[in-house]
Amino acid sequence: MPINYKTGIINEHKNVRNHSGIFDVSHMGQILIENNESYLHKLEKYIPLQLKKLIKNRSHYSFLLNKYGGVIDDLIISNIDIKDKSYLYIVYNASRKKEDEAIFISCAPNAEKIYEKNCLFAIQGPDSINVLKNIIDIPNNMNFFDILISKYDNNEIIVSRSGYTGEDGFELSIPNESAENLINLLLKNENTMLCGLGSRDSLRLEAGLSLYGHELNEKITPIEAGLSWALDKERLEDENLNGNEVLSDQLKNKLSNKKIGLICTSKSMLRDGMTLFDNNNNEIGKITSGCFSPNLNKSIAIGYIISEFNTDNPIFCEIRKKLELVKINNLPFVKKNYKKNGSIYE
């Protein structure tokens, strides 16, 4: 996947917000794990959900946790039937394939890495449904984080209503041999276009979504990352879950750091790794992701600051040895536009 295609990041970004765009995310991990009680029990050591109770044809945002409650990876896990057999279908980060697969295989030795034979495409934006519906059968009542098996080219494909841009959209897992054909068919719609990693990053940042290696890593727990909504609270009482005590304590007590959104008041760009200061030049935090926001026409960022800092006071970011005033902005920067109906997940 390139950083951008020929019209550039800003154009791709705006096309997704206003119409639709297609991302080839085939680099991501996709695995099928048989829905078998022994496998699920082993996986529940790492995944903070009640895996045996997952609703059929629904997806969940979750994590693999280490024994300190830190995030080994963040992932989407779904309960689906393929050819009358029940599976967990998990989509995970390309950069964490090695770590994740070691866990998946240790829990379920016959887990099937389907990214070896299936491409993964995301079509994102308000027009996604119109681009897709003439080609693939999408039920009218399909909501955000619903997932189902559909057909294309006489092959079974996995269709989920999900994505990483804050917009309505779909992700399609499709056999390699049919993938090019499908992309070309989708691209016949003149309001859609191929989009690259650059706009994927600016879209997810505007939507306030975390990126592994930036907002998330093995030293940060989901609670510290402001993602406690994705934890099943009953599981935090379960000693079979890695880091359950750390996480329970964190839920009850004040955290040392908190995740914030920032907007730069000058035209300078906020970038990953920059340091944040209070007005007495004390270091109070760091930026974990920063970029230019095409929707706001300003630089935006996500970062962590110490919880004891009073956010009524000014915050400065050091950019090329100069201190620039930044303002806290609630996440997300751009309102999410999901099609949903009583989903507990944001």
Partner: protein, 127 residues
């Protein structure tokens, strides 16, 4: 380019330089503009400052990353393109004309003649 301008030359850092009456006009090459992608902000150098060749004197921010711009030769900054303050994307549209970044009074014209010609720069890009 007008006939009154000297030959345009290029640096290995992908800047272009043209000289008229000992005043050098400097910008980034079209190739640099293409590889940076959408340019959203430029921190212009300060007028009046004296700089040496290879000094970092200003920064171009694209959506992807920040890139330093180096002084191609020794001299004094005498003018900056203020249009870029409001619309840095001019560089994407016309990097080697309207997208000029700054002008300098040069102190050593030998440094200019050592820079690459357009053909040499093209060969440099192919390497």
């Amino acid at each position: 380019m007008g006939a009154y301008m000297s030959e345009k030359k290029y640096t290995k850092d992908h800047e272009w330089v043209s000289i008229e009456n000992e005043i050098a006009t400097i910008g980034i090459s079209n190739h640099a503009q293409e590889s940076l992608g959408d340019i959203v902000f430029i921190e212009l150098p300060s007028v009046g400052s004296s700089v040496k060749a290879k000094d970092e004197i200003c920064v171009v921010e694209s959506v992807k990353a920040a890139s330093d711009i180096y002084a191609p030769i020794d001299g004094e900054i005498i003018e900056v393109n203020n249009n870029l303050e409001n619309d840095a994307a001019i560089i994407n549209q016309d990097a080697e004309n309207e997208g000029w970044i700054f002008k300098m009074k040069i102190s050593d014209s030998n440094q200019y003649s050592e820079l690459m010609s357009e053909d040499e720069y093209k060969q440099f890009l192919e390497q």
